[in-house]
């Protein structure tokens, strides 16, 4: 019968210097790996939201020319507004630097501020947001994906973050091992995707999506209803958006830019509901008031553009063919406003 010998805990002597070296080398490897992960994820993240923010800023930072149109806003604009159509209609260059709703209007303001300082003012700005972005206060994880060191060192406006919030955001940005762990976990577990680019963006920032997702549209609409009934209830513009709108107004007036604010496209079934209509009425009132306060700002409304489920991937995001219709409609309305 084989005999079992139990393993023991045999301690071994260690010099203080060796122990300190082990800990230091451990931390160095850890930090090194963290920064490799950080730079790697900047190029190959599997998180579409982070990809959009990072690539749009890259576009903003690399572009070195005056442009006719700068399109800012959230992801509904990112995949809803075709820059080619704007260029064909109005001439000059158009750049779509829309990111995500959780970045709030503040990133629109930061991008505009940065663009003006670097390239001079664009002639026109189109801002596209989904109705539920206006009450949002933002999301720290999404804010942290912006080039914060640049934003804080240049004091991009508005400056709304306290020192502790800035520290927190910098941690979230640079401690990739912890804060982007899901993307890393996927990559480590499936290393054959290591250098695969997961998403594609056109040269001027438009990110069209090809396939509709009716199931997801219906699910998303239900989510919107729940939100409207339980969470949003009465419209109130968030402080960060209020402050950002004021900064944007100041920037457009100082630089004589025309700013057009557009509502995002929306699913027909959501638009027609009483809950949405009641809530949206207050947004229209707020934005109309904002636009009326300056001769440089225009509100593209009347009516909001609605789309069937079959042309959408969720309640406010279009597939490419619908994005072309949406863009064409926006162009028509801008032309009417200009007349």
């Amino acid at each position: 019968m084989p005999k079992s010998i139990l393993p023991e805990e045999n301690t071994t002597t260690i010099k203080k210097i060796n122990f300190v070296c082990i800990i230091l080398i451990t931390l160095i490897i850890f930090l090194l790996f963290n920064f490799i992960a950080y730079f790697y994820l900047n190029s190959y993240t599997s998180n579409e939201g982070y990809f959009i923010v990072s690539k749009k800023w890259e576009l903003v930072r690399k572009t070195k020319k005056k442009v006719k149109w700068l399109i800012v806003g959230d992801s509904s604009g990112n995949q809803g507004v075709s820059t080619d159509m704007f260029e064909n209609e109005f001439g000059g260059d158009a750049y779509n630097v829309c990111t995500l709703g959780d970045n709030t209007c503040m990133i629109d303001s930061w991008m505009l501020d940065y663009w003006i300082r670097k390239n001079g003012a664009p002639e026109n700005i189109l801002m596209v947001h989904v109705y539920d972005v206006w009450p949002r206060s933002g999301n720290a994880y999404m804010f942290s994906q912006n080039p914060l060191a640049l934003a804080f060192s240049m004091n991009l406006k508005p400056e709304v973050f306290s020192l502790s919030k800035k520290t927190d955001l910098l941690f979230k940005k640079y401690f990739a091992l912890y804060y982007q762990n899901n993307s890393l976990a996927k990559i480590i577990k499936h290393p054959h995707n290591l250098f695969q680019e997961h998403y594609k963006m056109e040269a001027h920032g438009f990110m069209p999506h090809k396939k509709p997702n009716i199931k997801n549209v219906n699910k998303d609409i239900k989510g919107h209803f729940w939100n409207l009934q339980n969470y949003l209830k009465k419209f109130s513009m968030s402080d960060i958006n209020k402050e950002s709108l004021l900064t944007i107004k100041q920037l457009v007036e100082e630089n004589n830019i025309k700013l057009y604010i557009a509502n995002s496209p929306i699913a027909e079934n959501l638009y027609l509901s009483k809950e949405y209509q009641n809530y949206f009425k207050d947004i229209e009132t707020y934005l109309s008031g904002y636009c009326n306060s300056s001769s440089n700002i225009f509100y593209i409304n009347n009516p909001q553009m609605i789309f069937p489920d079959s042309l959408m991937i969720n309640a406010d995001h279009l597939i490419e063919s619908a994005a072309l219709i949406y863009t064409s409609n926006l162009i028509d309305k801008i032309n009417v406003l200009n007349k």
């Binding site: 019968m1 084989p2 139990l6 393993p7 002597t13 122990f19 082990i22």
Partner: protein, 470 residues
């Protein structure tokens, strides 16, 4: 408060800093440990602190009285009071609903329909651990193996020492009390081993246990949609989950204790390398199995009164060991199962295996494999929520792959491979701290690997350690 939470990290940093500041004053250090331990426990539910305090006072005063009398009858009475008091608390909080429910069901079988008596009792975390710990003190004092302490502070620290309060190891007074009573020395070797144990323990918990738990739960919670080899993958995932979870906690507890200058007993010695059931219980939850051996199996007579009584004692010990784990019939069946395989091995050993080739590596490997298969079957009983579920797993199992198998298997192997490699290394060298004998740069790479994996794969929302519920 969970070890795998930021609250604990902050709590420990504050406690440890103060602990080092008070290093020249033993009493202050012990007061600090006591307060910290009560805060640690109170974070979960402060109302149950009174139970710990009650156990502490009862056993401290009984210990004192035992120390002061040689009257056999009186000593027996005192011991009985301690055991009854401790088991009553444990019985009420842990087993009341189970027994009343089972009794009511039994009456139903005989045609009676009484109203079931159920109370909304919350199970105090770690009650099974500290109850057994305090009982061991009184029993050892009664047996005159240990001198009763006359310092309530020291005894209270022994009962509530926060690193091992809620999930063990179940320390013996004979080991821990003297360490509480005398000035602790923290040397480099203890710190080095402590750091290793903490990192390795966290890795086992948040990387292995919490991630294999995802596989386990997806299969066990929805078992009817799985079949063939997927069922085995589910059981294997639980096999590693429960080991990672429980031994991870023990490692962290022991590592933290080492940083504070305490040596707690080793609770796991590579249990999945056991060659037979008694070897398994020398390696798995050693603090409980040795407790059951010393305070239950031996008093029942051990193996001194012939074969039949030895088997009876083994069976009863395992049955109660199963029940210790929880108030459910599956735990009882699990205990019975382990009792049966222990007895079966003894029977086979007596009859046939004497001639089996000695110390052959192949035969060792075969025996490890057989014991591992028996162990994972035991975990199926342990994890299942009903006899029906156990039967489903048995009757629908085959080695055929399904469309889900490769993903499940890949996930399982991805998380357990580092553990398996390290443990093979530990097993070959018969040294649990073999990692610390590697060159410094390799240790640093190993630590960095653990830290990176803990950071990337560690579950964000703290999950409780499985053994908290026992």
């Amino acid at each position: 408060m969970l070890f795998n939470s930021f609250t604990f990290v902050i709590f420990f940093l504050i406690t440890y800093s103060l602990y080092l500041v008070f290093r020249k004053n033993l009493k202050l250090q012990n007061i600090l440990i006591l307060i910290s331990s009560y805060i640690f426990y109170g974070f979960w539910d402060w109302r149950f602190l009174f139970l710990i305090a009650l156990s502490t006072i009862i056993d401290f005063s009984i210990g004192q009285r035992l120390e002061n009398t040689n009257d056999r009858k009186k000593r027996k009475q005192l011991l009985s009071v301690s055991i009854i008091a401790n088991l009553s608390i444990l019985g009420f909080f842990k087993y009341f609903n189970f027994f009343t429910h089972s009794f009511t069901q039994l009456l139903h079988i005989f045609g009676f329909n009484p109203d079931p008596i159920t109370l909304n009792i919350i199970l105090p975390v770690g009650i099974s651990f500290y109850t057994f710990q305090t009982m061991s003190y009184t029993i050892d004092v009664y047996r005159k193996k240990l001198k009763a302490t006359d310092k309530l502070l020291n005894f209270a620290v022994f009962v509530s020492f926060f690193p091992q309060l809620v999930a063990g190891p179940i320390e013996r007074a004979i080991n821990l009390l003297p360490q509480v009573a005398k000035k602790r020395v923290i040397n480099k070797e203890m710190i080095s081993a402590g750091v290793f144990l903490i990192l390795w323990g966290f890795f086992k918990k948040v990387v292995i246990a919490d991630n294999t738990a995802v596989i386990t739960n997806s299969i066990f919670n929805n078992y009817s949609s799985f079949h063939d080899i997927d069922l085995l993958i589910g059981v294997l995932a639980f096999t590693f989950q429960i080991y990672g979870d429980f031994s991870g906690y023990s490692d962290i507890a022991r590592g933290i204790s080492k940083l504070m200058g305490f040596e707690l007993m080793v609770n796991f010695r590579l249990p999945y390398f056991a060659i037979n059931p008694s070897d398994f219980w020398n390696r798995w939850h050693i603090s409980l199995s040795s407790w059951l051996r010393d305070y239950l199996y031996f008093p029942l007579g051990g193996n001194r009164n012939g074969m039949y009584k030895t088997y009876r004692n083994l069976f009863l010990t395992m049955l109660l060991g199963g029940l210790w784990h929880g108030a459910a019939w599956t735990f009882v069946i699990w205990g019975i199962y382990h009792g049966i395989i222990l007895i079966s091995y003894r029977l086979v050993e007596h009859k046939n295996l004497k001639s089996y080739s000695q110390n052959s590596r192949t035969s060792s490997a075969i025996m490890i494999l057989i014991m591992f298969i028996l162990t994972i079957f035991g975990w199926l009983i342990f994890r299942a929520e009903s006899a029906e579920q156990i039967w489903y797993f048995i009757s629908n199992f085959s080695f055929n792959f399904t469309s889900k198998s490769s993903d499940l298997l890949y996930s399982l192997l991805f998380f357990i491979t580092p553990l398996v490699i390290v443990q093979i290394f530990q097993h070959i060298k018969k040294d649990l701290l073999v990692i610390l004998k590697m060159p410094d740069y390799l240790i640093a790479f190993f630590y960095a690997f653990l830290l990176i994996w803990i950071t990337v794969y560690g579950t964000r929302e703290s999950t409780e350690f499985i053994y908290f519920q026992f």
